[in-house]
Assembly symmetry: C2
Homo-oligomer: 391 residues x 2
């Protein structure tokens, strides 16, 4: 038996049993799941690394263990009604074993693989006719050079598995750089052209096992050093493009049989929309929804995972902007500046309880407004105070 | 040492210490405090009755003990930066002892007494010129009859201490009934006329120790069997009356030196506004603010208690209506009907994790809308489904 943190008491015999929602992972996404689960009286149980994980600090019950250990996964799955996720990096073969043993996973492993393996995603979606960038599976620098001969240098190389926030992705300008990138990757990499990206868009889609779907408005994300820095809801694009992006996202989720809460990340290029990545869990691009939508992505995740009716995805203000709070270079902790940030009226501050390290996501700020410029100004003002860069 | 539930790990030496906010009580109000505390990375610590308390089930750290035991209170107060409340019924003399021993209480015991002792409140506010109903301290049925000779039967008798949700309040029509009411009250009761109440209003006011205040819009509450049933924000009254109520509430809070989050409950009578009760903690009349105001009363409670800048109290929609979910007569549990209630688009359901008993507050539903009628219809539809009375 693994260690159990924040254990809940057994329910009295005559009480209806609370639904028990499992989440593999205990970081900030599970922390915000916990806030949503409290309102719906759902018991969250996490698989955590330890007592200082962000969601454990928020009081969710947590089994401590290694998600790479099948016995730990079995013990975890046996204690919950459904297994969901807050990250992608768990071995799909282990998930398939759990599924074969009768555990309910949302999404199912076959769908989850589209978020875990970029090559699988490109092949599967490309064959089904969804717009994916040109790609090849490059095992050697020669493969990369051949691809570049057609599409031009530089090219983008992506490790098929394990990357996030830009890790596992490289832009390489010649065969020598390609060889260096491929050296630690015995199974090769995905090679793609360096797309001319006009905007990065994302659509949150919730789907239950009976096929009900609910799509959130299309949002635009702005990356900095490959990490999401700012997100704007709704994206400032024309209605036809928004409808196309939303329709594309829903069709992809349906095609792969995705369930739960899924973020479909898209590139807008001169050639139109292209699929970037899928995230099969609440995602940074949906954080605005806590205050900005009728139903937050975290409550929607709980609803979808339990096959409950999905909530309204409407925005409750004309615009919402979220800015991530990143650990500043001087190593200082944004928490020290929280009171000053709270003086910014209309800024909704979320801190994750994580130790401060330069470049680490430590929280976010959302502001609503009558227009994007107003919401953006409010959110940035509070974020800059927290990061210690306010003038 | 009392038992500690959901213990948090000690912070690493190099991490800034999280503020530790104490709450005496661990019911639904502390449960909603917990949701707000997570976002601001504040550690809540509760004084609880046991592991099944609503806020303990939400994962807040809790010391189990009796709030009537000074040693328990001392241990509790020593573990937190500030002691706040989710109820009124704790011995004021014990609170004064804690204060004398150097603990920080929000509100301070001298202010808290205005919420704990109705006679003290009427005398203190009456002498200061605030509009309170005519009253006397009746020790005997003769005292009551004398009061009735001036003001007419029936009269209202109120136990000075310990009542809530209508408990400890009686409407008596003659001296015999008065004697029966007074029999278990050796210190007598407050006697007041049976006011002609046109509306019941409430104003949430937050105040920090440096005197900053923030008042929420005036709300109207509708009681059923002396328990709050519905609340409407903003109250449908004219602007002048709303301004008068808001000003009155702020002046009362300032006069008594109240700090933290305080609900001022008012009666609108043919003679104008009269003070009803004060609640020195988040209050049922402010539940709409979770979705309906920029800053929820629970986040505001955290901010005020820690002397942080107060948040905006603006409404984010033209109207918000909250309906309490009460345990139905058949003893069934509203949780069984949660999925059906979630199908009501725009209904924000909050369940408190409490065991179902007829007449017990088990949750609430809030809906926003372009007008009160729309919000009310949505909130009631979901509440009636939960209570099993939907047609």
């Amino acid at each position: 038996m693994a260690e159990l943190l924040n254990p809940r008491p057994p329910a009295p015999d005559d009480a209806p049993r609370r639904p028990r929602l499992g989440v593999l992972g205990a970081g900030q996404l599970a922390r915000m799941d916990q806030q949503a689960a409290i309102a719906l009286d759902v018991d969250l149980r996490l698989l955590a690394d330890g007592p200082s994980d962000a969601a454990v600090l928020a009081g969710a019950e947590a089994l401590v263990g290694d998600h790479g250990d099948l016995d730990v996964l079995r013990e975890f799955a046996s204690g919950v009604d459904v297994v969901t996720f807050e990250f992608e990096g768990v071995d799909n073969a282990l998930l398939r074993t759990l599924e074969e043993e009768g555990h309910r996973l949302v999404p199912a492993p076959a769908a989850k693989l589209f978020a875990q393996d970029k090559l699988h995603q490109r092949r599967g979606l490309g064959e089904a006719g969804f717009p994916v960038p040109p790609f090849e599976h490059a095992r050697t620098a020669v493969d990369v050079a051949e691809f570049a001969a057609t599409h031009g240098w530089p090219v983008v190389l992506k490790a098929p598995r394990g990357g996030y926030d830009g890790r596992g992705v490289g832009v390489v300008a010649d065969a020598q750089a390609a060889a260096a990138f491929l050296a630690p990757l015995p199974d090769g990499a995905l090679v793609e052209p360096a797309l001319r990206i006009e905007r990065e868009l994302a659509v949150q889609v919730a789907r239950t096992s009976d096929g009900a779907t609910a799509a959130y408005p299309v949002v635009e994300t702005v990356q900095h050093e490959a990490m999401l820095r700012e997100l704007v809801a709704p994206a400032e694009i024309d209605d036809a493009l928004a409808a196309e992006a939303s329709d594309l996202a829903v069709r992809i989720v349906e095609h792969i049989g995705g369930t739960g809460l899924i973020a479909v990340e898209l590139f807008l290029t001169p050639d139109g929309l292209q699929v970037n990545e899928l995230a099969m869990r609440p995602h940074n691009s949906g954080h605005y929804s806590i205050e900005g939508a009728v139903t937050s992505q975290f409550e929607q995740h709980v609803r979808a995972a339990l096959d409950w009716p999905l909530g309204s995805t409407e925005l409750i203000a004309p615009a919402a902007v979220t800015v991530n709070v990143v650990g500043p270079e001087d190593g200082s902790d944004p928490r020290e500046r929280l009171p000053a940030a709270l003086a910014v009226q209309g800024a909704h501050v979320h801190l994750y309880g994580k130790g401060a390290r330069p470049g680490r996501k430590l929280g976010h700020v959302t502001a609503l407004g009558p227009d994007v410029a107003t919401a953006r100004a409010t959110a940035w003002r509070a974020a800059e105070i927290l990061e210690g860069t306010a003038s």
